[in-house]
Every structure is written in structure tokens, then in C-alpha cells.
Symmetry: C2
Subunit: 340 residues, 2 copies
């Protein structure tokens, strides 16, 4: 494999001159520059990443910590990963991926050994045990998901409160007076999935403010259990005319459940979900939904992270907490409640 020394020899210059010719950090005569470039082509020279990292303390790699937990719906996760990965590439960074369940270990490994210039954390819990480690690390970090304490990192998330209000408002405006909200399973909440609460509390608050009923339940995030839970929910609240779904697995199971009960949306039941458009397409979900914008969030996180890595963000520029406003994608699954 060719080194910069080989390039220098072929071009008939010193190593440092070859380096400057390639980086452009000092003036170089056109003649020499051309000879160096020719040598690079001739030898098929590519700089050794390790050596460069050692010399510059920059790796041009971003660490991506994704956890695929038992009770998480993997296809939803994938889209965040792709948003991060594709944006990183556009900005000239590669992705070092950790999927292991012990995120703390992975994080420490990446940051301590300086394999990465920055870190993106997905699926951040309210009291995420990776955060203290990330704060102590010399590399900057960006999160997708809102923890209780945002100091020292840039944070991006959907505005789940607004999403909850939006769902309730939308159905209230159509005339619904009794709704049911299906959230992620309870242990996701216990583990610190605060977004579940954020949406649910805001929805309950909005319902109270408008004087309507909202039944809030947790449902499993695995098939086929979640289907059973949906049946139970509909049995328990025959008066509910609107369904809010903040649980990807439940959304995926709903078409079958409705079919089994001989119900149609919106004729018999209005339905609003919270998932991405891509997800809706993959699962053929015909329900209006709040776009959760995983690609956009991943993109925002990487953009800000790179800004910080490259120091365009001033040395002590304050950290950012940014919420994406929920948008309702109308797929025609809501209507005025049936009169009976």
C-alpha cells in the first residue's frame, strides 16, 4: 500500500511538501502540485485513516448508539438510523454503529479510545444511564429523544406534548366526546421512555380542558399480544368513537383487529396514529397520523453535531434543545362520530 512517502518520492519532493500539496494548507507551485497529484493517481494513494487520526486527532467518524431492546419495535428504529447515517455521509463522516444492549460500554469504548469525533444517541430515556458518560467524554454528543437533564448535549425530539394536544383537538373538533389512547407498554415508560408520558399527559389535559373523556391504556409492543389488548380496549369502552395510537406495534396490528370486529375507519371509528410516513407505507396503514419524522430528527442531530465537531459552533456556544412540531398527515381515517 502506498504511503505519502512513496508519493513524495515519485513526485520528487519531500513528504511535507506532498502533504501540503494535497491539503492546500500552504502555497505550492503549480508544477509540484501537478506532479504530486500525478503520483497519487499513479500509486492509487489513499491516506491511512489511523495515521491521520493520530496526527490530527480527528477521525471523521461519528458513533451511533442504537439499542434494540426486547420490547421495542425495530422497524421504527431503523429509520432514525438511516437518517443519521445518510446525513453523516453527506457531510463526509462515516458511522461506527453499536447495537449492543449495553450502551454504556459501547459509548465508553468509542469515546475513550477516540474512535469517533462525536456521538449520536438514539432512543434516549428520561434518566439515560449513557448520559453521564457522554457528558464526561471529550467528544460532543447529540441526542434524539428528550432526557430530564439536557446539559452538555444537543437535543432533538418531536414535540410530544403538542402531538397529544393535536390528536385530541382534531377529534374534538370533529365532534368526538369519548376517546381512547393506546400508549407504548408500561415498562417502556418505567425504563424512562418519557415521550409516552409527555404525549399522554398533554392529551389528558387537553381532553379535560375540552370536557371530553379520554381512556388511556398501555399496550404491548409485540405481536400478537397487542392485538388482544386492542380487542380488550374496544370491548371495555364501547362508547369510544375515536382511537389515538402512540404505539407502532398497535398501529401495525389495528387493521386486522378492526377487520375482525367488522369495523371500518372512519365510518365506525376515527383513528389517529403517531408514526412516520415511511412506517405507514411499510405497514400499509391507512390511518391519519402525526408524522414522527425520524429521518428529519436524525438529520438535525447530525447537522448540529458536525457543526460542533468542526468548531463552527463557537467554543462555548450554548447547547440546543429543539422540538419538531407535529404535523397531522390526513389519510382520511377520521370523521364526525357516527350518530346512534
Amino acid at each position: 500500500m502506498a504511503t505519502i512517502g512513496d508519493v513524495a518520492r515519485v513526485a520528487g519532493v519531500s513528504r511535507s511538501t506532498a502533504s501540503y500539496a494535497l491539503s492546500g494548507k500552504r502555497a505550492i507551485s503549480v508544477d509540484v502540485r501537478r506532479r504530486v497529484e500525478d503520483a497519487v493517481r499513479e500509486l492509487g494513494y489513499t491516506p491511512n485513516a489511523g495515521a491521520r487520526a493520530l496526527a490530527t486527532s480527528q477521525t471523521r467518524v461519528i458513533g451511533l448508539l442504537a439499542q434494540f431492546l426486547e420490547d421495542e419495535f425495530a422497524p421504527a428504529m431503523l429509520q432514525y438510523m438511516l437518517g443519521v447515517s445518510n446525513t453523516a455521509r453527506e457531510l463526509g463522516y462515516d458511522i461506527l454503529l453499536a447495537t449492543e444492549s449495553d450502551g454504556r460500554n459501547a459509548l465508553r469504548r468509542m469515546t475513550d479510545s477516540r474512535m469517533v469525533d462525536g456521538i449520536v444517541l438514539l432512543n434516549v430515556a428520561e434518566h439515560d444511564d449513557r448520559l453521564p458518560i457522554l457528558r464526561d467524554a471529550p467528544q460532543p454528543g447529540a441526542l434524539v429523544g428528550l432526557p430530564a437533564d439536557c446539559t452538555g448535549v444537543d437535543v432533538f425530539d418531536l414535540d410530544f406534548e403538542e402531538a397529544g394536544r393535536l390528536m385530541v383537538d382534531h377529534l374534538h373538533r370533529l365532534g368526538h366526546r369519548e376517546l381512547a389512547l393506546v400508549s407504548q407498554p408500561e415498562h417502556v415508560v418505567e425504563r424512562g421512555g418519557a415521550y409516552v408520558w409527555r404525549l399522554q399527559n398533554a392529551a389528558l389535559e387537553a381532553a379535560r380542558a375540552r370536557g371530553i373523556t379520554l381512556h388511556a391504556v398501555f399496550a404491548p409492543s409485540s405481536q400478537p399480544d397487542v392485538g388482544r389488548e386492542l380487542h380488550a380496549l374496544l370491548d371495555a369502552h364501547p362508547g369510544a368513537t375515536g382511537l389515538l395510537i402512540n404505539n407502532e406495534a398497535a398501529a401495525a396490528a389495528l387493521p386486522t383487529v378492526l377487520h375482525e370486529r367488522g369495523l371500518a375507519a372512519p365510518a365506525d371509528l376515527s383513528v389517529v396514529g403517531r408514526y412516520s410516513d415511511e412506517f405507514a407505507r411499510t405497514f400499509s396503514l391507512p390511518y391519519s397520523s402525526i408524522e414522527s419524522a425520524p429521518d428529519r430528527l436524525g438529520r438535525m442531530a447530525v447537522r448540529e453535531l458536525v457543526r460542533r465537531i468542526e468548531g463552527q459552533a463557537g467554543p462555548a456556544e450554548p447547547h440546543v434543545v429543539r422540538f419538531v412540531s407535529p404535523e397531522l398527515v390526513d389519510r382520511g381515517s377520521t370523521d364526525a362520530p357516527r350518530q346512534n
Copy 2:
């Protein structure tokens, strides 16, 4: 950040001694070893990955090239990635992930700059344009998917021929005499997705050998188009009593389609798919299927790759082409055809 020089100073030894104490490559007195270990703990020392890579020409990173093409069903892809990633970690390797559509570029970047010790290629096409690059690279490569030319790499794939035969045999034995096979969309084939052909040809051959009819069609891999295509297929072949699905998107769409037509499996139609158990769970698919074993294939590929990286495979040990035997997971969606 502490370096090995710091460790050495605190322990009162030379840098080389500290290094040997940690690597164990030379005999070290217990006293010195203890002092070095104490210093490591005290300083929180972790070796710098770039420096180590430079010195040893080993990065302990594996490059993973996954392509998420327009017409590919992403959730199916994810499972291969997880199989690779988790196995790599178990063996002490990290994953450098490339999801960009230009796999050639990503591959060249990783190998030329020596960011990785080896490469795993997912979703390998018959004449994959990444292969020539991989063969020229100094790092070993392992593939998931069977190309026309396997020289210079280790190859792992499901035995799609056997899978095709197995599907046909299974339904033939139950008494079916007219079947339909739904494959991936035609341009997946054109792009080089040879596994589509492999299964289809073997299925056609088996059908001919047994004197039964097999209608083979391509279907889109996106929702909701694939549903429409399934309806068209069932309209066109009312006499078909068995359905073979070699198309994840079609499998995901099938429950809805059957519902819409008022059909049940296996009462009205026997169904056999080809997808992973994990996939079946995610999409609540109640159909018997040939396990495509993505996690197992990913695992096998990484195992062999690491063996080769670490030189336990003899210097010129011949490369491996290994097929996973298909296994039919019975979910009760097949039965004798309805007499009418």
C-alpha cells in the same frame, strides 16, 4: 487524556515495559505488572485506537455494507445487519456502517484508508459491482448472498433452490395441483437478485417433475401496489389452491388481501412464505414459512471473516461457499386443498 507514557511514568517504568505488561507478550514481574495496572486504573487509561491501528495495522473494526434500495423492504434488511453487528461485538469487533447507495465508493473508502480489518457485504447481486473492488482489497470479505463468481471471498446464503423445491413438495404432498408463486419485483431480478431466479426455477422444475401447475409472477415490493397485484393474481388463477410467497412485502400485504376477498388460510387457500421468524412476528404473519435465517447468516459470515482476519484460517485456506438448508416453520396455514 492519558497515554501509555503517562501510565509508564506513574508506574515508574519505561513505555515499552508498560506496553508489555498490558499485552502480556513478554514476561513481566508481578510487582511491575501490578504497578502498571494500578496506574491504568488511576489514570483511566484507554489505548488510542488510531495509534494502535497505525502500529499494528489492525483496527478491530469490520465494515458492513448495507444498501437500502428504493425497491427493497427495509425491515427485512435490518435483521441481517443486527446479526452481523451483534456477532461482531461478541468477537471483539466494532462495525463501520455504510448505507449509501453507492456501495463501491463506500467500500473503496473503507478498505483503501484501512479503516477496517474486513468487510461484510449484504444483499449481494449476481454480478455485484462491489465484488471486483473487494477482491482487490487487502482485507478479507464475507458475503451474504450468492454471486456468480465466488473467488476470493467467503459466501453464505440460504439454499434458495432447495427452498423452492421444499415449498412445492410440501403443497404437492398435501394434494395441491395448481400453485402460484409470488416473487420479488422484476427489476430486483434485473439488478442481479439471483436468489429470485434460483427459487423460482427450482420451484418450476419441481412442479414439472411432479406434473403440477405453477404460475410464477413478479410483484412490487412496495405497499400498496403489491396488494393490488395479489388481487390480480388471485383473479387470474381462480383454480390455484396454494400460494408461495418469495417477497416480503407481498407477505406483509397478504392478510389484508385475503380478508378483502373473504378467504381464509388454510381453509380456502394454503400459503407458504419465505421470510424470517422475526419478520413473521413483526408483521403478525400467520403463514407457514421457510426460515430465511438472516441472523444466522450474518453470524456465519462474521465468524468466518474473523477467523480469516485473525489468521486462524491458514494463509491460503480455500474460500468457503456455504448454504443454509431451508426449514419449514409450520404455522398451520397449509392443508389439503378444498374439494369442490
